[in-house]
Amino acid sequence: MTEPVHGEHERQSFSRPFLAALTPSRDAASDTLGEPDAVRPYFVTQGRVHDDISGFETVYVLTPGGAAGLNQLSFEHRDIAQLCRQPQSVVEISALLRLPLGVATVLTRDLATQGYLVAGRPAADPASDPSLIMRLINAVHAL
């Protein structure tokens, strides 16, 4: 993957003039890191990085309160919240919205902290759960 991450999606939803002023020009960008002139994804996380990324596959789903409050959200947060009307894992959110995984992780956690999303519980030691594995085997058999 050599294309710029996030660029296309960002342009599609780009309608915030206050961010345009903060976007480095192509010249400025090529002087520094040579990155494209879209808003850098880490800008929307306000520089925060994920402290751990062990939850690649953590599944999030929109809450009724979250559905009612969508209009209060920024574009990036709203896109994620909308997507989570159906349960979505962080990796799916990242891939579908073309957000780097670390960015998707931070934004999704924001939304969970604020009550827009609720995270599904992780599997409790699935490797020691024969009945769970039997469910998997039956499902794969049925494919």
Binding site: M1, F56, A68, R85, V91, P122, A127, S128, R135, L136
Partner: protein
Amino acid sequence: MLSTHSEQPVSAPAPVPVKIIVAGGFGVGKTTLVAAISEIPPLTTEAAMTTLGAGVDNPGDVTTKTTTTVALDFGRITVDDSLRLYIFGTPGQDRFGFMWNELTAGALGAIILVDSRRIEDSFPALDFFESKDLPFVVAVNQFSGHLAHDLRDVRSALDVDSGVPVVATDARDRRMVKETLLVLLDVVLQKAMERAAH
């Protein structure tokens, strides 16, 4: 903070996710295998690795800060409303080994995909999963419908434990990939039953 939200989700409760890993050398067919079995077209996400990638790429570059972007492919099998299986194809190169710790945390097991013409490409993945004591199977990908080497030769070359299944597969063929996945799940089940017995 929302004032009126409840913690109940809009749709059904989020399903519990479990995952398996597909590992192997570059170009061995990991994405193809994921595509053959996934219920959704494989998705690709990107993890930007800033500090850990430092010094890997182009040490002579103008900046000492190096950003490495790692592409990660994955697919999904919905078991039922409350259980989902994710299948991750890992970047196979040595240099991305640091990512495997994060990726494999909580994984049930792995399919190590091998190109029998380039067996050595699978050594990093083998070493990793052996060291983690994670269940795995070795699946030799048949390119153009045949194996370049006998499975016994591959087992001998890889020097894997006798309890590790070494099977032939075809990453393009849904039926064969399904069989391979079932072989892995059987190993995972054996191990789970051993644990449950203790």
